[in-house]
């Protein structure tokens, strides 16, 4: 199935400011390289439980909270906000799963 709209991806951390923004920039770099069209937003722990999204990217500390959000299609759980190869691998896997569904 081909998508018409860009993917909506949410980068989440506790307060949704510093770390989430850094994560958002990392995700945007990865998607630009892979030529994938997406809108990337940031969210804090509370918003991440309520906002609709194709993919939410977050670390272990918030993953349980995000699982409560029924409007999220894919959750990418990373072990480390600073690990670029891991984020790239898991994010692109999630995008592929969405494209095949």
């Amino acid at each position: 199935m081909t998508r018409n709209n860009p993917l909506k991806i949410v980068a989440a951390c506790g307060l949704g400011t510093g770390t989430a923004l850094f994560l958002k920039m990392t995700i945007e770099d990865i998607l630009k390289q892979a030529k994938i069209d997406a809108i990337v937003e940031t969210a804090d722990a509370s918003i991440a439980q309520a906002v609709p999204a194709d993919i939410v990217v977050t670390a272990q500390d918030l993953v349980e909270l995000v699982r409560r959000n029924p409007k999220v299609k894919e959750i990418v759980e990373i072990s480390n906000y600073g690990n670029l190869p891991e984020i790239r691998q898991k994010l692109l896997d999630a995008v592929n799963r969405l494209e095949q569904s």
């Binding site: 307060l15 510093g18 480390n80 906000y81 600073g82």
Partner: protein, 427 residues
């Protein structure tokens, strides 16, 4: 002349001025047109949202300050200027300091061996707010002098802070290529130095905090808004029980039942905080990616200095307990000062204390295990409380409300240096 006067008035509105700065930045960087429009508008809206969040918090806060003061027999809380007024009146300087301090940081990283680029967005904003206030109200600087001195100071801070914690950062994150850029740097430094000493350079670590579990029942503490609502509610209820007449009077004035009034006040504080954060998020979401773009072009081999949660994966359990201990230590300091009738009420900004304690505990645990993690939490809460107590007499009248939600250690300890300089200069 009418146009000049209009432009002057336009530039004096911080929201509009910051929007224009963002617009200029995007035009210089030749950003895509949609990003340029959206980014400039978001920056202006972000500042308006932030101010309304602060106003809401202050409404919930001032009665608590009065209540605590009356109950504990302290002089009334005097915050004449307040954070939102500072942002409104010094918004132009704050915006320019953000930009100039960043450029100084990039310049220093380019020409010296300190290759650190400070990229923690919300703190780039708060660093400017706090140090502009400190130089204005402690040293009495104004206009161009205020702009230049603050920009140089913040530029140096944003270069040197990542450097002075870098050795410990890279030990904790096992040389992951990023360091800490955060206003929790003083407790991180103190905790690291102490625990490194006690553990003989990490060789006698002992049992790690990571081997124990964090109770599920406290998981909701991971949501800062809930944590703030709950702790504020507890503080408000304790104070209300101690001084029922005051609460009844205030509630009657607001046309509410006293118990309902107390609950709403506490929840309103947390709601205001959430709004404040939305505003901050909107401002920095546009600014920081552009900043990073500039840094990447000018400084090859730059090492990013980043927010504290990037260090949480290196101590998930230590982080959780450390946050709790930091919060409790901060409250203990607050109670001790109240017990001694210190003439200023020491607020326990639980969100800040949590993040500071959590971060320091991750470092402490890495060197000295459980003992180190506990020490980190205590050091964070104690330094934050003592720093706030020390700063109240100097600058409480201006940013006192800021202390109630974020008396970050670097913001209450580094300005002390400025206060000392002011004393020496006889200002």
């Amino acid at each position: 002349m009418a146009i000049v006067s209009f432009l002057q008035k336009f530039m004096q509105e911080p929201a509009l001025f910051l929007g224009i700065i963002a617009l200029a930045g995007f035009l210089i960087l030749r950003e895509r047109i949609e990003r340029t429009i959206a980014g400039s508008l978001r920056t202006a809206l972000g500042l308006l949202i932030l101010s309304s969040g602060v106003n809401l918090m202050v409404q919930a806060l001032l009665p608590l300050g009065d209540l605590a003061g009356k109950t504990l027999g302290l002089p009334p809380l005097k915050i004449d200027i307040g954070t939102s007024k500072i942002i409104a009146e010094l918004g132009t300087q704050i915006g320019l300091v953000m930009l100039l301090a960043f450029l100084i940081n990039v310049f220093l990283a380019r020409i010296t061996k300190l290759k650190y680029i400070y990229l923690t967005g919300h703190l780039i904003f708060w660093n400017a707010v706090i140090f502009v206030s400190a130089f204005k109200y402690l040293l009495g600087l104004d206009g161009l002098a205020l702009l230049i001195v603050t920009s140089v100071f913040v530029g140096l801070y944003q270069t040197l802070q990542p450097w002075y914690t870098s050795k410990f950062d890279l030990f904790v994150n096992e040389n992951a290529g990023f360091v800490l850029g955060h206003s929790a740097s003083i407790p991180v430094l103190v905790t690291s130095l102490l625990t490194r000493l006690f553990s003989a350079n990490g060789t006698k670590k002992g049992r790690s905090m990571e081997e124990i579990k964090f109770p599920k029942a406290l998981e909701w503490l991971r949501e800062p808004m809930l944590m703030m609502a709950a702790t504020f509610l507890i503080i408000y209820i304790i104070m209300a029980v101690l001084n029922v007449p005051f609460v009844s009077e205030k509630a009657a004035a607001a046309g509410k039942d006293p118990a309902i009034w107390v609950i709403l006040q506490a929840l309103t504080f947390a709601a205001g905080f959430a709004i404040l954060m939305v505003g901050v998020r909107m401002i920095i979401a546009e600014l920081i990616p552009s900043f990073r773009g500039i840094a990447q072009k000018i400084v090859p081999g730059a090492i990013p200095a980043l927010d504290c949660p990037l260090f949480f994966p290196y101590g998930q359990v230590s982080m959780a307990y450390g946050g709790l201990i930091g919060m409790l230590s901060m409250m203990v300091v607050s109670i001790i000062f109240a017990g001694f009738k210190y003439p200023f009420f020491i607020f326990a900004p639980t969100m800040s204390a949590w993040f500071h304690g959590a971060t320091a505990a991750v470092y402490g645990n890495k060197y000295w295990g459980i003992r180190g993690a506990i020490l980190g939490g205590v050091v964070a809460g104690a330094l934050m409380g003592l720093g706030q107590a020390a700063m109240w007499p100097f600058i409480g009248f201006a940013i006192g409300d800021f202390f109630s939600w974020a008396s970050d250690t670097d913001y209450v300890i580094w300005p002390l240096l400025i206060a000392v300089v002011a004393r020496i200069l006889g200002r």
